[in-house]
Symmetry: C2
Subunit: 89 residues, 2 copies
């Protein structure tokens, strides 16, 4: 059994990046008018996975990222353009 604190600090590599990425995904998803449930349903994956990705607690795969970009009808590169977009959450 793993405590969440330990989980965040030791278990995940690059968690800062993952959190930024997740926040950007969340903003993008909302701007496209999707709920987590709708996005998950379109992808055929679990809502809890979307939640975990957006919170940056898992390091999802490149093909999932690709599928998300297709479902949201955004360019996959948009999901990585978050360097300048801080603090609009």
């Amino acid at each position: 059994m793993i405590l969440h604190e330990f989980y965040c600090v030791e278990y995940i590599k690059n968690s800062e990046f993952l959190i930024q990425f997740g926040n950007n995904l969340k903003r993008t998803r909302k701007s496209k008018g999707f709920t987590q449930a709708e996005l998950a349903n379109d992808l055929g994956i679990e809502i809890s996975q979307i939640s975990r990705i957006e919170r940056g607690i898992i390091n999802t795969s490149v093909s999932t990222i690709y599928e998300i970009s297709q479902a949201l009808k955004v360019d996959i590169t948009d999901l990585f353009n978050f360097d300048k977009k801080i603090g609009d959450f």
Copy 2:
């Protein structure tokens, strides 16, 4: 024990995308003058992983993609710009 044929067809989702992605990574890596061993060493991961990623037989994580882009000194979005670049291998 898993035969390679089965492995490719049933095990991997989105293998077409992963192969394109891998080919694009390979071209990008070479254009930056890196061998697989050099890239793997810079990242602190296994050469065999780089090989597997470039051949599209595994679905690596978003943070590994991010780290690769940093090691190669390219924008992460470049690793996904391969729609138009067919047949230069």
